[in-house]
Amino acid sequence: MRLSYPTNIKIVKVPCTGRVDVLTMLKAFEAGADGVCVAGCLEGECHFLKGNLRARKRVMYLKQLLQELGIEPERAAIYNLSSAQGQRFAQIAQDMTDIIRALGPTPVKG
């Protein structure tokens, strides 16, 4: 497909989004990341049954923590897509980058 997506995105691989903890995402913000996007499998198609659903709840919880910190909750997001949807991944990467660009850099210096 030779698709390209914004180079500012750093990929952190996890075996399942169920592995993603609130602290994992907070640490990214602590280190100065401008946003965190979790890319999980399609809902209902988790190999471990509920990993992506749990990740969604954790992202929602993270948004609350960011709100408490006075950081825009839009800086955290979760999307669902399958590993066969390269095009969608590239699109999400672009969309997320656009959202963060509009918000500007995080006030947290890493």
């Binding site: 913000f29 923590l65 006075g70 006030p107």
Partner: protein, 223 residues
């Protein structure tokens, strides 16, 4: 278990405002099980505090440490070698643990990060519910294992009161009437005759009303 809630970030930030080097102390007992002050929550709060400080252009040094228990001197002693390196301790234990850490290090500023709420159970993952008030005089054998002291808003014996409607308490529509639960439980057990027994007026001196309580087992004491 003892159940607690973490204080709001705003409140904790206000408490730690004067300090740049703190010891954030978790507890691996009840407060870990109720997901308020265990190792994981210590990590989350530490990260939040660092983000908040960085956001203002400041910095804070935090040592994260979680003790087996903060209510036993053997474990609290573990922080003795390094506690003086920190300006203050922020404890994520229940009220008992926070008290005891402060008792063991009377010169140290010990700040609470938890509001301790009740003694209860986990009815499902992520949900905790009150079951005991530690009144010191258990009558669960008469009430089918449902405590009217902890689970009735009025803590009345020989209920229900007039505020019970369709099994729900007048205080809150999400709260079951404890006396309805008791009657249903006794009925299910074929022990409704227990309900006929008039429970004596409660002697509250065994509860908190008699002042702080102490329990001693002489055979276990070392000196």
């Amino acid at each position: 278990m003892i159940v607690g809630n973490r204080k709001s970030l705003e409140e904790i930030l206000e408490l730690v405002k004067p300090y740049k080097k703190i010891l954030l102390l978790g507890c691996r007992e009840c407060i870990t099980v109720c997901a308020a002050g265990g190792e994981r929550e210590v990590g989350v709060l530490a990260s939040e505090l660092k983000i908040a400080r960085k956001k203002e252009g400041g910095d804070i040094e935090i040592k994260e440490f979680t003790l087996e228990r903060q209510c036993d001197v053997e474990y609290i002693d573990q922080i003795k070698p390094f506690i003086d390196e920190y300006e203050a301790v922020v404890s994520m234990a229940c009220g008992a643990g926070i008290n005891y850490t402060a008792d063991c290090f009377p010169k140290k500023i010990v700040l609470p990060a938890i509001n301790t709420t009740f003694m209860g159970v986990s009815t499902e993952q992520g949900v905790w519910s009150e079951r005991c008030q530690g009144c010191g005089e258990c009558i669960l054998h008469l009430t089918g294992g449902v405590c009217p002291v902890a689970r009735c808003a009025k803590s009345i014996f020989n209920g229900p009161c007039g505020g019970s409607a369709n099994g729900v308490c007048e205080v809150n529509k999400d709260t079951d009437c404890a006396w309805q639960l008791i009657i249903d439980r006794l009925k299910g057990q074929g022990k409704l005759e227990n309900y006929e027994k008039i429970i004596d007026i409660k002697d509250w001196s065994s509860a908190r009303d008699g002042g702080p309580r102490t329990r001693i087992r002489e055979d276990l004491r070392l000196n």
